[in-house]
Symmetry: C2
Subunit: 462 residues, 2 copies
């Protein structure tokens, strides 16, 4: 019976071909949010179907009201679990195009800071990442003639445009997709030498609050003084949402926020997170969040209330002495632990209504609400995967938090009753969603090896 | 020697012709802010030159780097003062055009609420108003063969676009223009039966404040918590600019704000200003300004700090979980009494800098600063003009405040050492700067009579 090392050797032999295949996929401008690229999204889906079929996967394009899903199945393996692998083939838009040094859809291998990097839109998010798993499976199949367990592949084409078709698709195909565990490759390493499994993802709730005063814009000479000014009303409300300690003042906001488990807290301390460097990279120097929490805790394990956009009155060039009729702010909450997004939004609405002066009214518009995801790291698969990653990278893998939200993980949990193992090889400087996106060649190649080891660990032993 | 009544009769005889002349002027789309209408602005200036010449005024078009001025002179009259009359022939743009019931440059006499109104862009602001004075002079000239004193006519073509050429023109032609008193017809009546002389104009200072945090927009998942959020910083600053009593908190803000003179206070009380109606017209019900001041005092005699526009982060449709790099607010102050705009702006800047957290910076951009204008109503011309207006309208004229600013009045004072007598016949429902602008025919005809009486009073007696 072939050994793990045979599969790793097979992957190494495939390296050049694997890179060529990735380049083929990167050349397809599958920008999901722009209707002009609908055909290209279908083309990327078809490419994936063909690539899965090339090593025996029963794959097909599954059309939706939006861009198609790709679903593939390998044969069941007696006594082994069934795993689902998720990735997305769509990419972000590329504007501003003039900030790119190359054509974003002409992938190239370049040298950056002494490393080989794959430069293209989607290199890291998420085509490069999803191909690490496909190549791992191809190498395994090449040696064993089958995969180590039954694997269901699910590739989405709308991740960058809000995933409108995902939940209906999960619901309609629940039996087909439901597996023992989901593997998701859309996250990052802790640093370029330290692999990570993301076990805590913050949830999110977004609400747009519009304060309306006079029934039209007024002249600040005619009405300045006696008329309510919605910008002033809104500013006062926003200013009251945080106290001097940086804590959110909404009633009940911290009710369901757990303190960090000791094991995780110690691990995070050992990471020796460089807050100076993290903040320095964006022109800042001091953590501005809740007092008495480290910058890392502020991002990974503490909830926030942020103002993502504000507008009211005249915002063009020059000056207009207008008293605006309305002013609005897009407010987002990052949620942790068991915080209930609906409860938080209700508390926000109550706060706004309680502070609304007479003569003003308010409109609320919801922009989504999803709770935090906290993986149960007690499950044996986590420890096995962690060991596999540590073996490949020769550095102990960490259980990391993630400040952002990956809604698919919550959807898998809610609609398919399935936990997710989040492993990815992105780096902080990959410039995802920005010009000149890249993926380190090392991330790609060791990413393939990592998945081979994880598959081996999760399916082979115990 | 002909009597005042002869001149008034002459004006009555001219009524139809006067309306025709006004319509001719209203047909010219002299929109000063839009370069596409440059020729039409010149055409309006030429029309005025010809019209002044038609009753013996030595008038000419005076080109400037912008739109031309029109200057006209009548002959000096021994023992009589020299007066300057100011008006402007340019008009506001007409968009949104689809809200107009008629072509804005096809003037028409219509009936509205039982009154005859002249409907056209510029009917009230300011072509109709300036023609009241020209027609008064024409009638006077028709009877007397001369004007009652030397009059210098000054018509501007850039009032609606910031008057860039005005101050240079005043400076270059100071000797030619300097008069004993300026008459300005660009204000309104107290109500449709009560004429007014505006004796207090609030000043204005405008400043744009931009708070800068991170050096680029950040992802609220990646950085939400430890990163400074400029919208939050700005909101807190704005919220601190007013106390619970509606007073501006800036240091020294009220130092040079006088209490209202008893005489004026009594007069204003007697006006029985209907705050409910004033606010009700714009969907409000309660004065929201400084406590313990009436709505009328809040607009006419109290200073304000208003937020005219705010922007930061993502303000488009939908939602983007961005932490913005910057947020800015356009802040305007209405000033009264002896408040020094520069001192107020310095106090604002100090307040912002004192409240700036580490890791944030601020940019200031000034958008003008002019002090309040308070006429010395002790000058005999004010009492005489007030009596003349009371005679024409059979209702006691009031000394009114004006919440807005009329910069030319300050410019006349500063550059020509000349006070202004502000008399106008506009009404609150004239829709100036809006679609369907109108000017009551009664305002036009009794306005002509009013000027005849004012000229008689100011030059004939005492």
């Amino acid at each position: 019976m072939p050994a793990l090392s045979d599969v790793l050797s097979q992957a190494a032999k495939n390296n050049d071909a694997a890179l060529e295949r990735l380049f083929e996929l990167l050349k397809i401008p599958s920008i999901s949010t722009d209707p002009a690229y609908q055909a290209q999204c279908q083309q990327a889906a078809d490419w994936l179907v063909a690539d899965l079929k090339s090593f025996g996967i029963d794959a097909s394009r599954r059309d939706t009201p939006g861009h198609p899903m790709v679903v593939g199945h390998s044969a069941p393996v007696a006594g082994k679990p069934r795993l689902l692998f998720y990735g997305h083939y769509d990419v972000q838009p590329v504007d501003p195009l003039d900030l790119w040094h190359n054509d974003p859809f002409a992938p190239a291998l370049e040298t950056q800071g002494g490393n080989s990097v794959i430069r293209a839109r989607g290199a890291a998010d998420d085509k490069g990442q999803l191909m690490t798993f496909i190549e791992a499976c191809r190498a395994w199949h090449g040696i064993h003639g089958e995969l180590p367990c039954e694997i269901c592949f699910l590739f989405e084409g709308e991740e960058e445009s809000g995933s409108p078709s995902l939940i209906p698709f999960l619901n309609e195909n629940a039996e087909e997709l439901k597996s023992d565990l989901a593997l998701v490759c859309d996250t990052g390493m802790w640093d370029q030498n330290t692999p990570a499994i993301s076990t805590m993802l913050r949830g999110m709730a977004g609400e747009e609050v519009t304060i309306i005063g006079p029934n039209k814009d007024l002249h600040s000479g005619m009405y300045g003084g006696p008329a309510q000014n919605p910008i002033r009303v809104l500013s006062k409300m926003l200013a009251g949402l945080h106290d001097d300690q940086g804590r959110v003042t909404l009633e009940g906001f911290y009710d369901d926020v757990p303190e960090l488990p000791e094991e995780i807290a110690v691990q995070w301390q050992n990471l020796k997170f460089d807050a100076q460097q993290f903040l320095g990279a964006v022109g800042l120097s001091e953590p501005a969040g809740e007092k008495n929490y480290s910058a890392l805790e502020q991002v990974w394990s503490r909830p926030t209330c942020e103002f993502c956009g504000i507008t009211g009155g005249y915002t063009g060039e020059g000056f207009k002495t207008v008293l605006p009729s309305r002013a609005s702010c897009k407010i987002s909450f990052r949620l942790v632990g068991q915080q209930d997004p609906q409860k938080i939004l209700a508390s926000l609405r109550k706060y706004i209504e309680d502070h609304l002066p007479s003569d003003c009214s308010v409109e609320f518009k919801n922009h989504g609400a999803s709770p935090a995801t906290v993986m149960s790291i007690d499950s044996p698969a986590f420890a096995k995967a962690r060991q596999a990653l540590s073996d490949e990278w020769q550095s102990e893998a960490v259980y990391a938090g993630c400040g952002g939200s990956i809604p698919v993980v919550g959807d898998f949990h809610n609609y398919l009753g399935m936990d997710s193992l989040l492993i990815g090889f992105g780096l902080d400087d990959d410039q995802i969603h920005s010009p000149n996106e890249k993926y380190d060649l090392r991330s790609f190649q060791k990413g393939i090896n990592s998945w081979i080891r994880v598959l081996d660990a999760v399916t082979g032993k115990g």
